[in-house]
Symmetry: C2
Subunit: 233 residues, 2 copies
């Protein structure tokens, strides 16, 4: 008998991959630590085969680094690495917003507005910004990416970059503040998408991510870099 819809044949490597990814993102497995194959295999009660498969996927997600005959290590978080993420997000999410303004259906836009309203309520009810600590912010960006209709772009953002961004957020402890400003910026982006103004949506998104980057730079006590990536007025 055929499965009616969505054949979700999950494998051991899949499950272990998801488990290790969560452990890395949330800091349970410390950044920079070595991932010994025999130790991890016994730790998760599996053989080394599927474990290596999981490690390989974590490598392609940019969460671990592997060297031949050396082993796998969790990536070390650096300020320069965080800047690289922001630069990529500015380029990719800017394009995603532009495409979303052209591709998203009215129903999807309505859903996006509803999500934004929920975020506003949560932030108003809890001024400490707990919702943003739970990645409500990335949830919004997630939807924009999916609205682009570009599967490759969606995969890059949702499967790779956002997990690394969450990892930095958890372990650098920069979550929660800037809630209201971010919410306002999100609102402007949704308006631009609703008006099918792709160019404005891209410009607003890039400015939004640049603002997040500058906020992180201030928060981490580093001197802000020269303002590359300024959109044209």
């Amino acid at each position: 008998m055929l499965q009616p819809l969505g054949l979700v044949t999950t494998t051991i490597a899949d499950e272990v991959f998801a488990k290790i990814r969560q452990a890395i993102v949330e800091g349970e497995i410390p950044s920079g630590s070595k991932l010994s194959e025999p130790e991890m295999a016994t730790r998760y009660g599996i053989s080394r085969g599927p474990l290596r498969e999981a490690l390989r996927r974590l490598e392609s997600s940019n969460l671990v680094e592997r060297r031949a005959n050396f082993g796998a290590r969790v990536v070390t978080l650096t300020f320069a690495g965080l800047i690289e993420i922001y630069q990529l997000r500015e380029a990719l999410e800017g394009m995603a917003a532009r495409l979303a303004a052209e591709c998203m259906t009215p129903a999807e836009i309505a859903d996006l507005r509803a999500l934004l309203a929920r975020h506003r309520d949560q932030v108003a009810g809890d001024p400490s910004g707990a919702y943003f600590q739970k990645e409500g912010d990335l949830d919004f960006h997630f939807r924009i990416a999916q609205g682009s209709g570009n599967r490759r772009l969606i995969a890059m953002l949702c499967n790779d970059l956002y997990y690394v961004a969450r990892m930095y957020r958890y372990q650098f402890g920069m979550a929660g503040d800037r809630s209201r400003a971010a919410l306002d910026e999100h609102g402007l982006i949704v308006d631009a998408i609703a008006e099918r103004d792709g160019e404005l949506a891209e410009w607003l998104t890039r400015r939004h991510i640049r603002a997040s980057r500058r906020h992180a730079e201030r928060r981490l006590g580093a001197q802000p870099q020269p303002d590359e990536s300024r959109g044209s007025p």
Copy 2:
């Protein structure tokens, strides 16, 4: 004894990965064909272990698709997929050019100019555009990406996107023409980088890639899509 420099410990999976990648890009292994593990293993004289490692890397390079308990297939090239590549390249290479204008050393810029001069000679000597058929064009883009200084961006472009772009170029047979126009556009981009004008470099690069996309659209006989991703003047 320590290796003096550049520890190039290569593994079987590495070599087979490179071999299969080349075979896929150049069309020797047809697009959409199934990659049977036992057959491929005997074909390359190795076991299934390193072969699976190679297939995993090909998957993360977006050259093959894998499903659990189903197997690996070479990706099927579609017009929509080509458009997705162009959209990504516009966003990523635009950012790369902006960063290159800020980061490249004068020596690197001089090298880039020398490369461009060589390209001009080759195109002038062979009006059929043979050099561009040999990926001289992508060679230029390769250098811009590396000039960005963003390792993640470099990896995305040089390890993934450019191979897929070459695959489309080989198998859709759209290489060689547009040589002179592309050369002129390359020259403008180098000038902008030399003047440290990141914003102009990004704008020119995005326009350059949009022009390539429109050319491909015309060549493939499809109606050009609405001109999304138009830079602000």
